[in-house]
């Protein structure tokens, strides 16, 4: 079974600065997808960014980018120019690419990001 670990329960960043959230995972599969989800106080789960394991290029979405290290099984999220609205819980998630996997996500325990004005 796959596991996802987020070792930082809480992180803090100054507004306009850059912060990196860590995520490691354990799997025996070679083909899979990785995601970062944001959960604000409203509880809605919002997809931030996704990465296909077969792609060497790191995904980017505006101020959000990832550092995907497949051999190290590491998938960190970098938030540049942090904004007050970035304050939320962030979850790293894994999904197998196997056809019979049912599209299920395995989540890490989350990192609470605080943004200081």
């Amino acid at each position: 079974a796959q596991t996802v670990t987020q070792s930082q329960p809480e992180m803090s960043v100054q507004e306009a600065e850059t912060v990196t959230l860590s995520c490691t995972y354990d799997t025996s599969e070679s083909d899979y997808y990785l995601f970062w989800y944001k959960q604000p106080p409203s509880r809605q789960m919002i997809l931030v960014i996704r990465q296909e394991a077969y792609k060497q290029q790191n995904a980017t979405e505006n101020r959000f980018s990832v550092n995907f290290q497949k051999a190290a099984k590491s998938f960190s999220l970098k938030i540049s120019d942090s904004q007050l609205g970035d304050a939320a819980m962030y979850f790293c998630a894994y999904r197998s690419a196997r056809n019979n996997a049912g599209n299920m996500l395995t989540f890490g325990g989350g990192t609470r990001l605080m943004v200081k004005p």
Partner: protein
């Protein structure tokens, strides 16, 4: 377009009571899921469905039952509520198992069992 709708948003149950958490999606998605999120933790999969009439267990199915009689609805049943089931429950859906499929989440149901 409503997306994924969960009801109720909040509920308090007494130990041993039963209830059904409702989930409906209007996007014609064939995949639907139930997750629970304990305080300060990530989400864990309870049950999932790949289409009407087909359901399967996830990581933490004990104490729950599901049914999927239509594409739109995927209710979650708690038969004998226990304090360990105090959690926030999320329903989610997706269309196809493609490489870039997005998972749509409902806004959650906060359940307390006292």
């Amino acid at each position: 377009n409503a997306g994924v709708t969960q009801t109720p948003k909040f509920r308090i149950l007494k130990i041993g009571q039963s209830m059904t958490l409702q989930c409906a999606q209007d996007m014609n998605h064939n995949y639907m899921y139930w997750y629970r999120q304990d305080p300060g933790m990530g989400l864990k999969l309870i049950y999932y469905s790949v289409g009407a009439g087909i359901t399967d267990k996830g990581e933490v199915p004990n104490g729950y039952n599901v049914s999927r009689s239509t594409t739109e609805d995927f209710p979650l049943r708690l038969e004998l509520a226990a304090p360990s089931q105090t959690s926030v429950y999320f329903c989610a859906s997706s269309y196809l198992q493609t490489t870039n499929e997005k998972l749509f989440f409902g806004s959650g149901t906060q359940l307390s069992v006292l």
